[in-house]
């Protein structure tokens, strides 16, 4: 009996002693894959899976990253300015009256199934979006244009009014007509939204070769992409983590090369770690508080017509300015975002909109000054006349309904701070924390006065500027703010073809927006990234400035430029036991079980 145990122990010890040999030894002895032609895999950690593989259903960061690798854009982004750059469309020339634009389509692009990409695909994609008014995307096509294919490499964009839209980042994924037209033949809108597109066919530099939902997405570089192949990377695997701590551990132990979207605590913990570098880039969104100006009673699904849906004091500019003065933006950055965000004033951000920056003057920044806030309210007659510590407006006690959204970064915490700031200026409030889905319910019914949310602008200002026009009430507008001057500016910038003239108008809009504070820009978020320095080098920020992101930016430059360091594998990374070790363990376990059974049988027999 004892002999068998010693034998089993020896086998186990033998197995265990062989454990580390697999991964470490191979990492130390293998030659560089770049020299052997072996696959070079970039392992990226993210905390969400793609929402969908259907370009008409995507919404969030990783969605755009994956789509951008699988599909070519109509126009790419210039990595320095984020202005339109040649993509599938290589040239775009307007007619003299700006009613027609001639788009030249590149003649060397093919889809991953081998079908050539032609002007037909471009025209079909654009027409589909316009004809079916696909949400968000149709904003890139004002005046309902039509598209005429004049040759396999030429499309004419016909507009009913002069337009500069083709020169304003109408960067859309070009879909293969031969796949999507049959799919959307009947009931196009619903069919396009419901199509799973589980095996996407695109013309981009990578194809998706493998996906395990909520676990990983495996992309492989195409060898026939018109733009050439990446310098080193042949494969990208996006590993999806529910738990950021686990993701950071995987980066530390070399399972991952790059991680994105870290929270500030974990990101800070990685600073100064061996073989790891951290990077803070533009998060692409600004946090805000937005006032509800009412109007939800006009919505078909809203409350009965005539039902008040907000506190009337919100229409008083003095009130909004006073609240703005009560808010300490820097405190929010430090306390809510751990110092990793930046104080912001304008809706066009330095990282996303580098060509559209407007300096907001100090007098309309409404910086933190509670004394001034109180003074403004007193001067406006919004006072505490009954001495209960709370101000009144038109004879009614103020009680502002704050809505915070629990699954929006920093919203709940900012909501708590806002409640304190309002209390400091004698304004009572109550805070409702809801998830995003519930927030939309309340948004429709107007059961809120101010909410804490965010906006994420595109490089061209047209889209984000449009959100605050009167037309967008009950559409994309936060709270149905309506200002005819702002609306006029928006129309004007849409028809200005000279970049400098348009910039001047956009400046006016930003200043008016800051002065009227229908929505108060609080801070610009950061995307916190980290990467191993002993596996790959040569990340190129997008845009190519301090705020640019190393991956998940506006271009896929990094994937193309990265170079392998050493073997491309971190020493000591854990890949698990080999099949032979598991077989040995199984044999040992089986031997032990059989031994126990035999031993019991023998002892039973002896006792009998």
């Amino acid at each position: 009996m004892r002999g068998r145990r010693i034998l089993a122990a020896a086998v186990v010890m033998g197995v265990l002693s062989a454990l580390p040999l697999g991964s470490v030894a191979s990492a130390q002895e293998s030659p560089s894959p770049a020299t052997t032609g072996e696959p070079v895999t970039l392992d990226v950690g993210v905390d969400t899976d793609v929402t969908s593989l259907n370009p008409f259903r995507i919404c969030c960061g990783i969605d755009y990253e994956i789509m951008g690798l699988m599909y070519d854009l109509s126009w790419n982004y210039n990595n320095d300015t984020l202005e339109p750059a040649p993509g599938i469309i290589t040239e775009w020339e307007p007619s003299e009256d700006y009613m027609d634009w001639t788009l030249t389509i590149r003649d060397d692009a093919t889809f991953s199934d081998g079908t050539p990409l032609t002007a037909e695909d471009v025209a079909w994609t654009f027409s589909f979006i316009v004809d079916n008014q696909m949400p968000t995307l149709s904003l890139y096509f004002p005046f309902k244009p039509t598209f005429e294919v004049t040759s396999p490499t030429e499309v004419i964009w016909h507009s009913s009014q002069p337009t500069a839209a083709p020169d304003r980042n109408a960067s859309l994924y070009i879909l293969p007509k031969h796949i999507w037209e049959p799919v959307t033949a009947e009931d196009p809108y619903s069919a396009a939204r419901q199509y799973a597109n589980s095996e996407p066919i695109g013309s981009g530099p990578f194809t998706m070769v493998e996906r395990s939902r909520d676990e990983f997405i495996h992309m492989q570089a195409r060898d026939d992409w018109w733009g050439g192949q990446p310098n080193s990377v042949t494969d990208i695997v996006y590993h999806i983590y529910d738990n950021q701590q686990t993701m950071v551990t995987a980066l530390r132990n070399g399972e991952l090369d790059f991680v994105d979207g870290l929270n500030d605590t974990l990101w800070t913990s990685l600073e100064g770690q061996p073989n790891i570098a951290t990077h803070k880039g533009d998060g692409g969104c600004w946090g805000n508080i937005a006032w509800n100006f009412g109007g939800q009673d006009e919505w078909p699904g809203g409350p009965a017509p005539g039902t008040p849906t907000n506190d009337p004091v919100i229409h008083e500019k003095d009130f909004r300015v006073a609240v703005a003065h009560s808010i300490n933006r820097q405190e929010l950055v430090d306390s809510v975002y751990g110092g990793t965000a930046d104080v912001g004033y304008a809706m066009l951000m330095p990282g996303t909109n580098p060509s559209w920056q407007t300096e907001i003057p100090e007098d309309i920044r409404y910086d933190y000054d509670p004394e001034m806030a109180n003074q403004i309210l007193d001067d406006a007659g919004i006072v505490d006349s009954n001495g209960d510590g709370n101000r009144e407006y038109q004879g009614n006690e103020l009680n502002i309904e704050i809505m915070a959204i629990t699954n929006v970064t920093g919203s709940a915490e900012t909501g708590q701070f806002l409640q304190g700031y309002l209390a400091d200026i004698g304004v009572a409030s109550f805070l409702t924390n809801v998830n995003q889905s519930r927030a939309y319910d309340l948004w429709y019914t107007g059961e809120w006065d101010v909410y804490v949310w965010d906006w994420c602008p595109s490089p061209d200002p047209n889209e984000v500027l449009s959100y605050f026009t009167t037309d967008q009430c009950l559409g994309w507008s936060d709270g149905c703010w309506s200002n005819t001057q702002y609306d006029d500016f928006w129309e004007l910038q849409g028809s200005q073809f000279d970049k400098a003239e348009r910039k001047a108008t956009v400046d006016q809009m930003q200043l008016l927006f800051a002065e009227e504070v229908p929505t108060m820009v609080l801070n610009y978020w950061s995307d916190l990234q980290a990467y191993r320095t002993d596996t790959f080098e040569g990340y190129v920020p997008s845009p190519n400035n301090e705020q640019g992101l190393l991956l998940f930016g506006w271009t896929d430059t990094s994937y193309m430029e990265l170079e392998v360091v050493g073997t491309g594998e971190a020493a000591g990374s854990s890949t698990g036991l080999s099949a032979w070790v598991w077989i040995a363990i199984a044999v040992v376990v089986a031997l032990v079980v059989v031994g126990i059974v035999l031993s019991r049988r023998r002892s039973n027999a002896e006792e009998a």
């Binding site: 949400p135 939902r213 738990n243 686990t246 530390r252 132990n253 699904g301 967008q472 854990s574």
Partner: protein, 332 residues
Amino acid sequence: MGTLGYIARKVGAALLTLVFVMALNFFLFRIAGDPISQLTRSARLTPADQEALREDLGICQPPPGEARCSVIGHAATFPAYLRETLTGNFGVSVQSGDKVTTLIAERFWRTLLLLGLGTVFAIVIGILIGIRGAWKRGSFFDKSTLYGSMTLYSMPEGWLGMLLILLFGSLLAIFPSSGFQSPGNLSGFDQVADIANHLFLPVLVLTLGYIGEYAIVMRASLLEMMGEDFVQTARAKGVPDRLVRRNHAVPNAILPTFTLVFLSFGFVVGGAIIVESVFSYPGLGQLTYQAINTQDYPVLQAVFLISSAAVILFNLLADILYGHLDPRIRSA
């Protein structure tokens, strides 16, 4: 009451419970909010489009002028939900547009493997520890396993998981820290080994976390049994201690543990939300967690129904087998 009557009574009660669970699932997930609002925040989606979307997803149409459906409004769609559910159609995910049955089928076996292995290991080891501890009451083994299993049982699974990731994934660099499999379309032994590597840490957490439960119950039950007359009689007759334990004490002491085991298997299908989350394990627990966050009603309804049905089924099996093992139960 005869055996058939006993079984019929238990099956009837199980079916009634199942219908109650279905009704509860249906109404519970419609109270929190309206998913259509989230999907349609666009002026370009007309009320007619929204109506069509609601019809597609089987979600109640609010009456004119109302933002949400009343309970009565939702109740009107309940028969359709019942009909579709009973025919195996759980609808499509509000978030991804995928069929719910596809989402569940992808994860079902992974969860079954993870929870099944963890539960089986915990049961076997826990029972063995409980038996030996009770038989050697007060010994070093008894004290150390009792305190050890109590400590593990009271330890948060998430924290234990993080500790094991740091130890095995980072310091020793032996096992991967997350997922179910590696990319690369592996097959054969390589695939089995790869899955075993990924399962090792989460299964270890579940095993360590649940051992205490079985060990404590088994130990207490056996200690009680050891004082019984028939055990004393067997000893007085000179039956070897080992056989007294194996043939007289343990078979009678294992009945309470038997119930616990069946209840545990009932929960296997529901998934382990915390463990699956820590190890980013793509199972049903993770699916449930994501569906809760996104108010994905069709997915939530299906997952809760399946996991509830599993618990009801295993309770039923436990009742029937217990009735067989201990006839006194049938007449109770």
